[in-house]
């Protein structure tokens, strides 16, 4: 019979166990899963979701939600590509402003941060529920993307920019380096800094945090700004990898990010969860996506199965909490 201690040990590693079982099953059922090429393919694919999910984790830890990350990703990708390809023309003074690769990367971050700031400002100053504020931003950012691109993809961005999405450094794809750096910084920020402790405190009990003198609004705005910047990082990776900014990029990416966060054990009520748990959640989602493709499962069924996995993760999480 399982003792309480043994049960809680299993519960702590349930995501890892699920991932291991999934990998084992796919290795037995397909020829291509356990290959180096497929490993790097999966890692490259999850890199974008890892970046977005890390931002989403910060938001959810404060008991918020950000539905706009997919649209912000598309907007930042489009801004980056547009500035790199066409620059800015100012006919009044006969001036053309061109941008370097470094310049467009900074511009993408600024664009993502600005949209995140609008989210945070609406949520904290006007008390708009995060769900509504970010839902509004989801449609606005998509609209801005369509206006910026006129509905057409922007392609042919050059090799130096493409290196960010397709290049390799020390035998590891660049998107994996970028997402790895994002994870390391996020782990340090959430576990070793005052800002990180404030995030957990706000999500755990906002009133208690306010009474303790924590600047709630300032921290929340920064969290949404960071979520925007990390969506921009995802946008840069997608755009660089495809050598093209697609106006409809990032549709439903927010759902994959929320799924990674939830599967990784972060509580949707806030105050509980880890960045590494989210990374594990993103890996599970990535392996699941890859496995369903390798098993030639219909795309329609893939959506059903992914939904069931998320539901199962939440049910198990709730059951564990009741057990605790």
């Amino acid at each position: 019979m399982l003792t309480l201690k043994k049960y809680s040990n299993i519960a702590r590693f349930q995501s890892l166990i699920a991932l291991f079982l999934m990998c084992l099953a796919l290795a037995l059922m397909t020829d291509n899963f356990m290959t180096t090429d497929n490993f790097w393919n999966v890692m490259r694919q999850i890199s974008v979701n890892v970046c977005i999910s890390v931002g989403m984790t910060l938001v959810i830890l404060t008991a918020g939600i950000d539905l706009s990350v997919g649209s912000i990703l598309a907007f930042c990708g489009a801004v980056t590509a547009g500035l790199l390809k066409y620059g800015i023309a100012i006919p009044e003074v006969n001036l053309f402003v061109g941008f370097t690769v470094f310049g467009v990367i900074v511009s993408g971050f600024v664009a993502g941060g600005a949209l995140g700031f609008v989210n945070g400002y609406a949520i904290t100053k006007f008390k708009v529920p995060p769900f509504v504020a970010t839902l509004a931003m989801l449609t606005m950012a998509r609209g801005f993307t369509m206006l910026w691109t006129k509905g057409h993809p922007i392609t042919g961005l050059g090799e130096s920019f493409g290196f960010l999405g397709t290049g390799w450094f020390l035998g590891i794809p660049m998107p994996v380096w970028v997402s790895g750096l994002v994870v390391i910084i996020a782990v340090v920020v959430t576990s070793k800094t005052r800002f990180g402790r404030y995030i957990y405190a706000i999500g755990g009990n906002e009133n208690a945090a306010r009474l303790s003198g924590i600047p709630i609004n300032k921290i929340k705005i920064w969290v949404y700004v960071l979520a925007g910047v990390l969506a921009a990082v995802g946008g840069l990776l997608v755009t660089a990898r495809l050598d093209s900014a697609q106006p409809n990029a990032g549709i439903s990416y927010e759902l994959d990010a929320i799924a990674a966060v939830v599967i990784g054990g972060t509580s949707l009520a806030g105050g509980r969860g880890t960045i590494l748990g989210t990374v594990l959640g993103a890996v599970i989602i990535g392996v699941l996506n890859n496995g369903l493709v390798l098993l030639d499962v219909s795309p329609f069924w893939q959506q059903v199965i992914k939904g069931l996995v998320i539901l199962l993760a939440v049910i198990i999480d709730k059951t564990n909490k009741r057990g605790e």
């Binding site: 620059g87 023309a89 100012i90 006919p91 006969n94 001036l95 053309f96 402003v97 061109g98 941008f99 370097t100 470094f102 310049g103 467009v104 900074v106 511009s107 057409h152 993809p153 392609t155 042919g156 093209s244």
Partner: protein, 205 residues
């Protein structure tokens, strides 16, 4: 004092970032260089037309292609089809001869060997001729709109230069030879009455 140092460091970082982020040019100089690079799809297609026709001289006879597709679709797709994108769609260069069965408003049906094929004469759209030729590489073009305009120009040339003369002369019972392109889906292979976008049509006396 501390604030002063903070602002100074911020201004220096912002300045260095801006300096490395952008460059300035006179707009008229920039526009002049853009005009030179403007893509003229019509001229491009005129330039490649002979090569395109030569490529279609190497087309596979349609009945022999269909026999191969029935026997081993995967290998036939990999050997005979071309496509610019990834996925299940493949474009084939085909040729054949046959007797006209019907002359319809939008197409001409001919019996080639043991099966009917549909020669499109009205709806000449899509990328079939461009992609089946295997002459165009996606990386040679900066914009997807340039690629699309190549297909538009090819289709327009077919619509204006090939179809009108053929339509005025063709009648039921004529023996014709054709070259053209077909689009097939590997996952849902349908070989019944294929639709051919023609690039060459001749009524054999």
């Amino acid at each position: 004092m501390k604030k002063g140092i903070k602002y100074t460091v911020f201004i220096i970082i912002a300045g260095v970032t801006l300096f490395n982020s952008m460059y300035l040019l006179p707009l008229d100089e920039k526009l002049a260089s853009e005009e030179i690079r403007e893509f003229d799809a019509s001229a491009y297609v005129d330039g490649m037309w002979t090569d395109l026709q030569t490529a279609y001289n190497g087309a596979v006879e349609i009945n022999s292609l269909f026999d191969k597709l029935r026997q081993d679709p995967a290998q036939t797709f990999s050997q005979e089809s071309n496509a610019l994108g990834i996925g299940n769609i493949g474009y084939f260069k085909v040729k054949g001869e046959g007797v006209v069965q019907e002359v319809n408003e939008n197409n001409v049906i001919i019996l080639a060997g043991d099966q009917n094929v549909e020669i499109e004469t009205e709806f000449i759209f899509g990328n079939a001729i461009r992609d089946a030729s295997g002459l165009i590489r996606i990386n040679d073009f900066d914009k997807t709109s340039d690629l699309n305009s190549i297909s538009e120009s090819i289709n327009e040339k077919v619509r204006k230069q090939l179809i009108p003369d053929f339509r005025t002369k063709v009648k039921k019972g004529d023996h014709i030879s054709f070259q053209g392109a077909i689009e097939l889906n590997k996952a849902h292979l349908d070989l019944n009455e294929p639709e051919i976008i023609p690039i060459s049509l001749q009524i054999v006396p």
